[in-house]
């Protein structure tokens, strides 16, 4: 663990990513303290430029709501969607991939055909369908984002299991009389996990982007202060008051960048072959 931390902290981009991510987490945690009022309530004259009014350091949007308050509260929504949707996608992916990879044969065939069925549809299209059918409150959106993101982690887990299942230590477990479930989840999975953990950062970045894209099309939950909603609002005044869309856009950019850098850093630190280079 200590070696892993040292390896991680050696890479400057990984440290920058971690710092950025921590800043965003801090924003999310301190939102209620800095902006105790409802971020969606009217605060002042609409469309004030950033810096024009000391009460609104980042200005106000076209309904007169405080952009800074929406950015801080929006960090909560984005991170929540990112974390929950990623957990759903990776959890589902691991179970499907592990079962397919370990058992092989018809189990593998069946599960992989289902995975492919999901993969052949562009995930954003599938997401639109799910949201259109099940509605667009925040819970549904999060679950839907998770449900369209699991095939890639499933394939990755399967590939790891395929190479691990014929190792002698797995055979040794079988000769000891261990059951399949125990071998899959207690013996093989810990060895298959590092690349999946790294890939989870990609899933998280994509999940945040997917929600923003939905919000931009005004298909996300309008009752929460998400960054995507703010961009969607700013669309109407994009040519003159471009800052309304640009500020949440930068926030999304920074978050996705931070998550990706952390993922890269994890990859380098977890990959023993790169150690000592």
């Amino acid at each position: 663990m200590k070696r892993f931390l040292l390896a991680y902290l050696k890479s400057p981009p990984a440290v920058i990513g971690l710092v950025l991510l921590l800043v965003i987490v801090a924003m999310a945690l301190s939102a209620d303290w800095f902006f105790p009022r409802d971020p969606l309530s009217l605060a002042g004259r609409p469309l004030q430029w950033p810096g024009a009014n000391p009460r609104f350091p980042l200005g106000t949007d076209n309904s007169g709501r405080d952009i800074a308050a929406q950015i801080f509260h929006g960090a909560r929504v984005s991170l929540l969607i990112g974390v929950v949707a990623t957990s759903i996608a990776v959890g589902l992916g691991i179970v499907v991939g592990a079962l397919a990879g370990y058992h092989g044969g018809w189990v593998d065939d069946a599960l992989m055909r289902v995975t492919e069925a999901f993969q052949t549809l562009p995930n954003f299209l599938l997401l639109l369908v799910l949201v259109a059918v099940f509605g667009s409150d925040i819970t549904t959106v999060t679950v839907a984002v998770g449900a369209v993101s699991w095939p890639a982690p499933a394939r990755l887990t399967r590939a790891e299991f395929l190479s691990l299942r014929n190792r002698e230590f797995v055979q040794a477990c079988r000769t000891l009389g261990m059951g399949d479930a125990r071998i899959i989840f207690r013996e093989v999975l810990p060895n298959a996990l590092p690349p999946v953990i790294v890939y989870a950062s990609v899933v998280m970045a994509v999940a945040i982007l997917l929600e923003s894209a939905l919000a931009f099309l005004r298909l996300s939950d309008p009752n929460v202060a998400s960054w995507g909603n703010l961009i969607g609002l700013g669309r109407d005044v994009l040519r003159v008051q471009w800052y309304v869309s640009a500020i949440p856009g930068v926030a999304i950019l920074v978050t996705v960048l931070a998550v990706s850098l952390v993922g890269q850093g994890l990859n380098d630190a977890l990959n023993p072959r790169l150690r000592g280079r």
């Binding site: 190792r167 002698e168 230590f169 055979q171 040794a172 477990c173 079988r174 000769t175 000891l176 009389g177 261990m178 059951g179 125990r182 013996e187 810990p190 060895n191 000592g276």
Partner: protein, 538 residues
């Protein structure tokens, strides 16, 4: 020509700072005369391969030569420019590697790869090159050289690939050939042929050969002079006959003593009751082919009938692909045989359901070949050993206490139970594997090449431990090996397998002293240095 072809003077090679020792090589001095085979022998980590890499200046990135000279024809290779080294490699000094599959490019034909040597180093035209390439393949006696010319590496057998590698190495008549464990990955019969080929070519062409090996049998077969290395130092060197028969250094003596004799020890009385019986066991593999068309059927095990008497050791010997490992896996039901009966003390193992088999698992346990792959890298050693009993319902505390006892039993420090597998050496890991198998108190232990990945001196220790445990715990052993020396040492009965069939079986002394089947005879004749054995009692 007078004077050595290659003269290494006080060579030192520094390792990176976090390595287990400061220098891979220290003060290594060796001379190779023309027309001579110098064998460099040592165990893993002795620096023998590093010596070859240093001569070729093909060292890993963070390892550097920091002392000494490598004189090749009067020129110091340590100081030579990179361009000069490129011109010398292949033309002046050629190299043959251990693994012929990975040393050849899988996407290009063998003929093309040999011809490349001429294209790089000479100005011959295409017709002359292809004539020379064919000539070389004839010279290394590849069967059907014209076909081999156009073959891709995967279409040739391991022995043929190694012949192609040798052809490539000898293409430009180098003054020095470096062979790094060239026969280690090959079967014994193939190994014997390749050794004979290298010796023959060397005599005819007068090439000097630096031959790196861990196997004293090979040394006895091929060497003119021998250098023994340990921890990066040359501890002893001299003519082969002197080093082999009158070793001066303690380490050399220990290494030679660890080479078991091929003659079997006096037979032990064997019990009349059989604990394990195999009757007509068959296993076939089908690969490729859609809906059964063009399918390739491999008969891995064909109608094997063998008995294991209580308390005895049954050796199963054979070359790769003979089906011996598949048979071992059939016994522990890692592989389901199609036909046949395997009974353990009266119970038919093959008739058991999965759940019942899991219960029966504790009676037959297995020790695996690869001490690195057979232990889960993410579990502590103690847990690995305690796992088996815990699966069968023993409480954790009790199982861990028992694991400590087992550690002591197999000669490990009981305090080491909370370390991870990578913190142990190969021999120690194999002991952990053994402890894991013994934790369930099995009646039969199936050992699949348990010592073939280990250095000779460690090999001897593990074999002694196995024998000792068999006597103390009343175990019956099925011992799979390709090494006839090892089989002669530990087995009471031996079965020789070829292409899935048992061609001969019986008490080991009889089979090895008076083999009846031609294949057994061929195997025994192929053992390198078969008349050589560590004379000193261990």
């Amino acid at each position: 020509m007078s004077g050595p072809v290659l003269s290494i003077r006080g060579l030192g090679v520094r390792l990176p700072r976090n390595a287990d020792r400061s220098h891979a090589l220290r003060d290594v001095s060796l001379d190779i005369q023309p027309n001579e085979i110098l064998c460099v022998v040592g165990e893993s980590g002795s620096g023998k391969s590093m010596t070859a890499s240093a001569v070729m200046r093909l060292l890993p990135a963070n390892v550097a030569i920091d002392a000494g000279q490598v004189l090749f024809g009067g020129e110091d290779l340590v100081q030579a420019s990179e361009a000069r080294m490129r011109a010398l490699r292949g033309a002046g000094i050629a190299m043959v590697f251990q693994e012929p599959m990975t040393a050849l490019n899988p996407l290009r034909t063998v003929g093309d790869q040999i011809a490349e040597m001429f294209r790089i180093h000479t100005r011959m035209d295409a017709a002359a090159i292809s004539a020379r390439t064919l000539g070389l393949l004839e010279e290394v006696r590849i069967p059907d050289p014209r076909l081999a010319l156009r073959a891709y590496p995967h279409e040739l057998s391991g022995g043929q690939r190694q012949r192609a590698m040798i052809a490539m190495a000898l293409a430009l008549d180098p003054k020095l050939l470096i062979a790094d464990e060239p026969t280690t990955a090959l079967d014994v019969t193939t190994q014997a042929q390749i050794l004979a080929l290298i010796k023959d070519l060397q005599r005819r062409k007068g090439t000097a050969v630096l031959f790196i090996t861990h196997d004293f049998g090979v040394v006895a077969e091929i060497a003119d002079r021998v250098a023994v290395m340990q921890h990066g130092l040359v501890v002893e060197q001299g003519p082969a006959s002197e080093v082999l028969h009158a070793p001066q250094h303690d380490y050399t003596r220990a290494l030679i003593a660890a080479v078991p004799a091929i003659g079997a020890p006096a037979p032990r009385p064997v019990s009349d009751t059989n604990i394990l019986q195999m009757r007509g066991v068959e296993k076939t593999y089908r690969t490729g082919g859609f809906l059964g068309r063009h399918a390739r059927v491999t008969h891995a095990v064909r109608g094997v009938t063998l008995d294991l008497p209580k308390g005895a050791t049954l050796g199963i010997v054979g070359e790769s692909g003979s089906g011996k490992s598949t048979l071992a896996r059939c016994i522990v039901r890692l592989v389901e045989p199609e036909r046949g009966v395997i009974t353990l003390d009266g119970t038919d193992l093959l008739k058991l359901r999965r759940r019942e088999m899991r219960q029966a698992a504790r009676r037959v346990q297995m020790v695996f070949q690869d001490p690195f792959a057979s232990l889960n890298p993410r579990r502590r050693a103690g847990e690995l050993v305690a796992q088996g009993p815990m699966v069968h319902g023993v409480p954790r505390a009790e199982a861990m206490r028992r694991a400590k006892e087992l550690f002591a039993l197999v000669g490990l420090d009981p305090a080491a139970t909370d370390r991870f597998p990578h913190e142990f050496s190969g021999g120690q890991r194999q002991r952990i594997g053994l402890a894991r198998a013994l934790a369930l108190e099995p009646e039969v232990l199936v050992a699949d090449e348990p010592v073939s990945a280990l250095d000779v001196s460690v090999q001897a220790q593990v074999l002694r431990l196995l024998q000792d445990l068999r006597v103390r715990l009343g175990l019956s052993l099925v011992f799979i090996t390709h090494d006839l020396r090892v089989a002669a040492q530990v087995c009471d009965l031996v079965a020789v397998m070829k292409d899935g069939e048992v061609v001969e079986h019986g008490p080991v002394a009889e089979v090895f002293r008076a083999p009846r089947h031609a294949y057994t005879r061929a195997l025994l004749d192929s053992v390198p240095g078969r008349h050589f054995a560590g004379a000193a009692p261990a």
